[in-house]
């Protein structure tokens, strides 16, 4: 089965984010492969290892996103493509979805497109479903396990109230939840191979799609209001005494 995994490069999850002079800053923190996307790569790798096929990793971003693509190659992806075009500056999720749908068609013979749950920068979590709709493929969101049987996908989906097992004809779009299991670390050989890989850059002309119009804009990004907390440390001679005092305080807050 040939699979495309769509990934994003984001500031590390431990970065100290701030807005300085209207610009978003992540300090000294590195840009990394979006952590949720690692689960999508892991799930796709397991399917390829079991049944064969190619795993193409794609990212829409700037030149620096090649580093995230290299991490994906080092994990075991077959090939990587960077999509970069000046017309994609400030692209919203549906514009990215238009581009990704174009890439998936251009790669050809793709039977499934995998996504992570969301990117930890914008926390949107909508690009997978938007891409599915554009392709006219079924959307299997937040999948906890996947298998292929008789040319069909069978997935277990996490919902608020429980789990659903869904059978689906290919091709399909899948977003992968953390329940799939720990993603692998890149192997030493994988890192060596990835460091030597040349990653092609496709622009919109190459993909054959026009510049998509972004409709969602971010007029302002702000630092969150400072949380004014005065911490009161509860002390006492015994656990019992502390518990009594703490219970008083909790009940005073009237949250029940």
């Amino acid at each position: 089965m040939n699979i495309v995994v769509c990934i994003k490069q984001v500031p590390d999850s431990a970065a100290k984010m701030a807005v300085e002079g209207g610009q978003i800053s992540w300090g000294e923190a590195p840009l990394v492969l979006n952590p949720w996307d690692e689960f999508a790569i892991e799930a796709a790798l397991q399917l390829i290892e079991a049944g064969g096929g190619d795993l193409t990793v794609v990212s829409v971003g700037s030149e620096s996103a090649k580093e995230a693509l290299k991490t994906a190659l080092a994990m075991g992806c077959t090939q990587a493509i960077l999509v970069s075009d000046p017309a994609l500056q400030g692209a919203d999720s549906q514009a990215s979805a238009h581009v990704l749908a174009g890439v998936i068609k251009k790669v050809g013979n793709v039977e499934a497109a995998f996504f992570g749950k969301q990117a930890i920068d914008g926390d949107m979590g909508v690009t997978a479903a938007q891409t599915a709709r554009l392709l006219g493929w079924p959307m299997l969101g937040l999948v906890a396990s996947i298998k292929v049987e008789g040319g069909k996908l069978q997935v277990e989906k996490s919902l608020e109230e429980g789990r659903q097992v869904v059978e689906c004809q290919l091709p399909a779009v899948v977003s992968v939840s953390k329940d799939i299991g720990e993603p692998r670390y890149p192997s030493f050989m994988g890192i060596r191979k990835a460091s030597r890989a040349t990653i092609p850059t496709w622009d919109l002309a190459e993909i054959g799609v026009g510049a998509p119009t972004s409709v969602v804009h971010w007029p302002e990004v702000l630092n969150p209001p400072v949380r004014e907390v005065k911490t009161e440390i509860i002390t006492g001679g015994s656990a019992q005494e502390i518990a009594e005092k703490l219970a008083d305080k909790i009940l005073e807050e009237k949250v029940f």
């Binding site: 608020e160 004809q169 969602v216 630092n223 907390v229 440390i233 656990a239």
Partner: protein, 347 residues
Amino acid sequence: MSAKIVVYIDQVKGKALPASWEVIGAAHVLAEKLGGEVATIVLGADSKPVAEQSFHFGAAAAFYCDDSSLADYRAEPYADVLVKAARDQGTEVLLFPTTTRGREQAAMSSIDLGSGVIPDVTALDVSDGKIVATRPVYAGRLISKAVCDAKPQVITTRVRAFKAPEADASKSGTPVALQAVRPEAEIRTKVVGYSLSEGGVSLTDANVIVSGGRGISNNPALTPPAGLDEKAAEIWRAQEGFKIIGELASVLKAAVGASRAAVDAGYIPYAHQVGQTGKLVAPDLYIACGISGAIQHQAGMRSSKVIVAINKDAEAPIFRLARYGVVGDLFEILPALTVVLRKRLGK
């Protein structure tokens, strides 16, 4: 009538997810400023009684579709009905709760309707006739304003960010039935299994959360059963620790949360994880037990109203967020607190 603002009610087998009613509250905020009436749309098995119930929460009209092709949730047939209804009604604003289904339906319908989507908003305002949404980004470490140039506006509201209107049983109406759009033969997915998770309060809806971290496995008073290796003994200790948390949670009708460290160590399933790569929660009361408070955990719970931290290490960063802190042994404090609160709350 023309339903200018339409609210998608997320429901399972005749029961609305509580977050759905909050969206009607958000819709009223917009209706006041934009004018127009608020309608609801409910899809799936037993959706008619839910549509009727939505009148109690202030819907002026309600639509439902309980066609057999919608009996189980499937993204495509649901989106088809939703999109057709939005077109037929000339809908200008389409609102959803930020649930798994709500977010997915918003994303899909935005494409069909030729618009964009603004998910997971915590506030809505209208400026010069345009909706300006506020939404946390970078797991709440920054706040962003967002606008959409296209119509209809497709927005999902964060769970617990808006207040549900008071239910008023005297308000009622007759919901309108919708037809399915896609014939079963053209639906490429089939639901072949379904299981409800075991009871307990859901993290995102919870008013109160009691969470455990790595420190939950450190009870020195415990002796693990013979024959366990080191790792198994650690997990056994942690599970004993989560029993103590569970007891307090049951007294407070609270959900049980956990830090990533506790989940990664295998102490408790991922469904309980609070933080950047887990659930983002904002309860009225969050009790953090044996959690040091890594930046990724803080990102998931820092909007809680009152935070209580119990930790052995006085330097733990969690204390900087906490309204009340106890520097001490959680294995002594928690059981005592459970007894006291059970008595005080009359249980």
